[in-house]
Amino acid sequence: MNNLIIEESIKTPSVAFAAESGILELKGKSIPENSLEFYRPVFEWIDNYGQSPNSSTELKVRLEYFNTSSSKCLLDVFRRLETLSLSGKSTVKVSWYYDGDDEDMMEAGEDYSALVKIPFELLKA
């Protein structure tokens, strides 16, 4: 299976999803007007990866900030990982990095962790 690599842009984060290691990373800002366009290939990749995943999967979220359009897509990313976790094929965790002073991003990580049943680790970057 191919890795998913997308370069960072002014309004969208970099994506580096490695199928073999099961390490997936989102980094940068996510503020596109219509986030579905950007996240659709991300969803598709996770769905394909879920067919034969690594025994462990870690999503590293290193976002500076994101808009509400992205917040819905991020929830869908986490829900797909939750489905993968429930399938028993892979042990899934999310590492959520935030700037030490950034209360908004810390709370956002806590919000997601309350909405999906996969372990979230909140880490000060």
């Binding site: 002014i10 309004k11 503020i31 596109p32 007007e33 219509n34 986030s35 579905l36 366009e37 500076e64 900030y65 808009n67 509400t68 359009s69 917040s71 819905k72 897509c73 929830l75 002073d101 950034d102 908004d104 709370e107 919000d111 309350a114 909405l115």
Partner: protein
């Protein structure tokens, strides 16, 4: 007619320092243009990065809220697509004001929604956000229906708003958000 509203609002803020003011169709390039202007202001005034981030986040949400809700192009040729985005700075208390046309049939529900948010504590706003996010669906233009709620939560201060009646079909919706 729209310029009257802008003028009214600019005069309301006359004692205060307008940082930028945009009037016209809100498109995908506006956030970058405002960011460039504000970067300069923040640099010159040595504003700490957390405050800059807060400003950008709320500004992006505010602009995209107008982008998602400005009326459809079938009204092209009429002023219905035009919006306004203004920010001012009063002793480093920033405020972002947006304006866009809205159909009269939507004003009651929107006003009630904002009143309800303004009456909520920070904890209640957070619970309401989580609840809304878990059932959110994206519109065709990518709106999650969470913009005003997100701004209320991040601002931590009541949202000010006004519906200015235009005619039997339309009003102009003005929303002001204080940036902490």
């Amino acid at each position: 007619m729209l310029s009257n509203f802008v003028n009214v609002h600019l005069s309301k803020m006359s004692a205060q320092n307008v940082l930028y003011s945009y009037q016209g169709v809100i498109d995908e390039s506006i956030t970058e243009k405002i960011s460039a202007l504000m970067d300069k202001h923040f640099e010159e005034n040595s504003i700490p990065s957390e405050r800059r981030k807060k400003f950008f986040l709320i500004m992006v949400e505010c602009v995209q809220n107008v982008f998602h809700h400005q009326l459809k192009p079938e009204h092209e040729g009429q002023p219905f697509e035009s919006g306004i985005i203004v920010s001012n700075d009063e002793n480093s208390n920033y405020r972002i004001v947006s304006g866009n046309y809205i159909v009269n049939t939507s004003t009651k529900a929107l006003g009630e929604k904002i009143d309800k948010m303004n009456a909520m504590s920070a904890e209640q706003l957070r619970a309401f956000y989580q609840e809304s996010l878990s059932v959110a669906e994206l519109s065709e233009k990518g709106g999650a229906g969470l913009g005003i709620l997100d701004m209320a939560r991040k601002s931590k201060m009541p949202l000010e708003y006004e519906f200015v009646p235009i005619d039997e079909h339309y009003s102009f919706f003005i929303l002001a958000i204080a940036i902490p």
